[in-house]
């Protein structure tokens, strides 16, 4: 165990130097592509905001069901299938047909090439599951029908969230999918997420609808409240224009009223629709509805045909800016709820870094002194291994651009404490071997050999804990599992290659001395 070939010495040296270089590159400003990697600081150290959003998909499913009902009715009419007595709930459709057509309808719904009830080959299921009781069909979205719907809505939502966050212009935001109805937003450096939260909390569904007096409107009417709660208006259900037709929106100052407004421009289709509606509706009030509340309802004085317009509504410059931003980035498919939020201010982050580094230095010095006190020369060797272990650990973390968190720093300190264990096991074993073996080189050799399985056993158990933490933990805790796990690997390397190398040099040079350890 004490013999090292030249090649091995060389490769250990190179490996250690490269990783040491990586770890030092964290503290210098090198303009070098390969070595410009840095350890990323977690949100708890650099300050920032962590938001977990959950989509409330109920409206999406409800909308899907409503669209499907219209689709069904049109399709059945085309195929001359008589259906009646539709019962529509939030997640199911049910209707009756005549007894002689049930079989035909059943075949249509169950067909693998069905136009109306698509079959998903990869999941072996239709969009809708159905059951037939006498002449009544009960249809429900199948499990995968729901999954596909949720995935589509998540994809869309994540895109909108990204646009909104980008528009606010925060520093390197991190936006990720979590499961099939959650979005994780990490905003480093942001200590007050209030604005982002209120931006993400809005669906931003914008519609223009006329206010009517008679409730006998052919499209039906609904009662909508003004945002400031001043008035409840009866509004036609006919949507003149929706936010989808907007191509741009920005806050501007209306020169006549000296009021902050949001001016928007429309795409061609939108401009045409808007022009037509405003020509026929001169004199009527056009309600501008955002997420179920009327922002304002100006009277149409003349047809608006240029494809642009303004929204007024007691805006401050900030609120006009936010509304413009929401309109530009588009509407979310469904409302998002913030189900978890963690925000750390930058000064707390800095305090944590300072405390972490202070305790690392003190812990390190204490362990180093203790080892020298206990083992003298071999304590120095164990300490050399410990120091290179730290450089290796930080080097590996840098190489993989891992995220360092406060518990992660604790993991490094703990590694310092536990790393000496392997060397202690070896040294203690050598002490025992020396009692029965006169030749120190043989004693050292068998000390290394006999302690090997114990060291492996002992480290594998800690590694198991670290791996499980890595997969089960989140955020800061994941940072802990990474430093703990990588720490075990670098410990084994530093003990078996670096400390053993020094030990070998020392023992071979001093083989004639009595009582080496």
């Amino acid at each position: 165990m004490l013999y090292f070939s030249k090649l091995r010495i060389f490769s250990v040296l190179i490996f250690t130097l490269i990783l040491t270089y990586f770890s030092i590159s964290n503290f210098t400003k090198l303009d070098d592509d390969l070595f410009s990697k840095n350890i990323k600081l977690g949100l708890d150290l650099q300050g920032g905001s962590y938001l977990l959003l959950e989509i409330d998909n109920k409206p999406v499913i409800k909308q899907k069901i409503q669209n499907k009902v219209i689709e069904f009715k049109r399709f059945f009419k085309e195929k001359n299938i008589i259906t009646k007595n539709f019962i529509v709930s939030d997640n199911s459709i049910s209707f009756e047909t005549t007894s002689n057509q049930t079989q035909e309808l059943e075949k249509i719904l169950d067909d693998d090439n069905s136009e109306i009830n698509p079959y998903f080959q990869q999941y072996k299921t239709h969009e809708f599951d159905f059951e037939l009781i006498e002449n009544r069909f009960n249809l429900k979205l199948s499990k995968y029908g729901v999954v596909l719907l949720k995935n589509a809505s998540l994809d869309q939502a994540i895109e909108i969230v990204r646009r909104r966050v980008d528009e606010v212009g925060t520093n390197e935001p991190n936006i990720l999918k979590r499961g099939n109805d959650r979005i994780l937003v990490e905003l480093p450096g942001l200590d007050d997420p209030g604005r982002i939260k209120s931006l993400l909390g809005k669906t931003a569904n914008l519609t223009f609808q006329f206010i009517t007096q008679n409730s006998e409107e052919s499209f039906g009417t609904e009662k909508i409240e003004f945002e400031d709660g001043s008035e409840i208006a009866i509004v036609s259900k006919r949507i003149v224009l929706s936010g989808d037709n907007l191509v741009d929106a920005k806050p501007t100052m209306n020169s006549q009223t000296n009021e902050t407004v949001v001016s928007f421009s429309l795409d061609r289709v939108g401009a045409k629709k808007f022009g037509k509606a405003t020509s026929t509706g001169v004199g009527k009030r056009l309600a501008i509805v955002l997420d179920g509340k009327i922002i304002s309802a100006p009277s149409v004085r003349e047809p608006i045909i240029g494809g642009s317009g303004q929204i007024s509504g007691n805006f401050t410059f900030q609120s006009a800016t936010d509304l413009a931003l929401l309109l530009r980035s588009g509407a979310l498919p469904a409302p998002l709820n913030i189900i978890e939020e963690r925000t750390v201010g930058p000064d707390l982050g800095q305090d944590s870094i300072n405390a972490g580094i202070l305790s690392l230095i003190i812990g390190f010095v204490l362990v180093v002194l203790f080892m020298i006190y206990k083992y003298r020369v071999f304590g120095v060797i164990a300490n050399l291994a410990l120091i290179s272990n730290l450089f290796l650990l930080v080097g590996v973390l840098t190489l993989f651009e891992a995220t360092l968190t406060l518990p992660g720093i604790a993991g490094i300190i703990l590694t310092v404490g536990m790393a000496v264990d392997a060397n202690v096991l070896i040294f203690e074993r050598i002490k025992e071997e020396i009692k029965s073996e006169r030749n120190p080189i043989i004693a050292f050799d068998s000390g290394y050999t006999k302690s090997r399985t114990t060291i492996l056993d002992a480290n594998i158990t800690t590694l198991i804990a670290a791996v499980i933490l890595f997969f089960m933990g989140s955020g800061p805790i994941k940072g802990f599992s990474i430093t703990l796990g990588v720490g075990i690997l670098t410990t084994l390397f530093s003990v078996y290659f670096i400390a053993r190398l020094f030990t070998a040099f020392y023992v071979i040079k001093n083989k004639d001395k009595e009582a080496l350890i």
Binding site: E54, G194, K197, S198, L200, G201, N337, I338, I339, E340, E341, R342, T343, V344, D347, L348, D351, S352, A355, G356, L358, S359, L360, I362, G363, L366, F370, M371, K374, P407, I409, I413, L414, V416, G417, M418, V420, D421, V424, E428, T453, T454, D457, A458, N459, I460, T461, T462, I464, A465, A466, I468, L469, M472, G473, S474, P476, F480, S481, L484
Partner: protein
């Protein structure tokens, strides 16, 4: 080195351990654990104020005026830092925290929200569940590993020692109403790893000695093995405790609970490797035949 007769004290310490475990289980059952916002849901705010602008009762009064339910206010590390916790969270009101700040600023001058954590009921339930799964999984993984590496008597001894450490550590957290949060779960998992590590080192030696000495009874043999590995046990727990104490004292308030749990774990882990794991080998009458028979298979 002089041999210490650890085995003389197997019985009294076993009785002590049994009492501690029963007491801990009783505490866990009847008093329960003090879950933090991670596992209970709710809001945590870390505040920093001026030297003289606020004290606990003033902050508590200001929060109590806002109808947030049960509000707990505690000093955090020093005179000017406070931790405020309440169960209400803001899932549907993005302005919730902003409004809180505005309201508080009117009664307390120079207020800094250093940290805000807000966990909804669904997330906290999931975090608790995954924490329990993680601990369960790691215990199972340890059991599996030790079962491959050793004979079943050894596995049983190691696992009982492991449960002993985890239960008593949690019992102490319950007794002093210390907060259980995500980092405590990480600490418990590390304790599991450390306790196992410590036990394995002694067991390796017991097994080695069993092969060498057919004539020595297990009662004596465990004592010899404990003594042979004693200086390693002491040095490693000393260096680990030095590192942990450094985190506990200098690592800031956030790591206090985490390092405390680990310190307890290391102390009990070291103790249980000697006084729980080994007596179980004695109890199960492990002898040379135990390992020779296994090895023949």
């Amino acid at each position: 080195m002089r041999e210490i007769s650890f085995n003389k004290f197997y019985k009294p310490f076993n009785i002590l351990s049994i009492i501690l475990i029963i007491a801990s289980l009783g505490l866990l059952m009847f008093k329960g654990l003090n879950y933090g916002v991670d596992f209970k849901g709710g809001t945590l705010i870390e505040l920093r104020t001026d030297q003289n602008s606020a004290n606990i009762s003033k902050i508590r009064d200001s929060f109590n005026q806002m109808n947030l339910g049960d509000v707990s206010v505690k000093n955090f590390g020093n005179e000017t830092d406070f931790i405020v916790k309440f169960e209400k969270q803001n899932s549907n009101d993005p302005k919730f925290i902003d409004n809180l700040k505005t309201k508080l600023s009117s009664s307390i001058s120079s207020l800094d929200f250093r940290r805000v954590e807000n966990v909804g009921p669904k997330v906290s339930a999931e975090l608790l569940q995954s924490g329990i799964i993680a601990i369960g999984l790691s215990l199972a993984a340890m059991l599996f590993y030790i079962w491959i590496r050793f004979e079943w008597q050894f596995s049983l001894g190691a696992i009982v020692a492991l449960f002993h450490d985890v239960i008593i550590t949690l019992g102490i957290f319950s007794l002093f109403s210390l907060e259980i949060n995500l980092s405590i779960v990480a600490a418990v998992l590390t304790i599991v790893g450390y306790s196992m590590n410590d036990t394995v080192v002694i067991f390796d030696r017991v097994r080695e000695n069993l092969r060498k000495h057919a004539d020595i009874k297990i009662f004596e043999l465990t004592n010899i093995s404990i003594n042979q590995t004693l200086s390693r046990t002491i040095i490693t727990s000393a260096t680990t405790l030095l590192a942990l104490l450094s985190i506990f004292i200098f690592g800031g308030e956030i790591l206090k609970g985490f390092s405390l749990a680990m310190i307890l774990g290391v102390v009990f882990g070291t103790y249980s490797s000697i006084y729980i794991a080994n007596p179980i080998l004695v109890l199960l009458k492990v002898s040379q035949r135990t390992i020779v028979k296994e090895e023949k298979d």
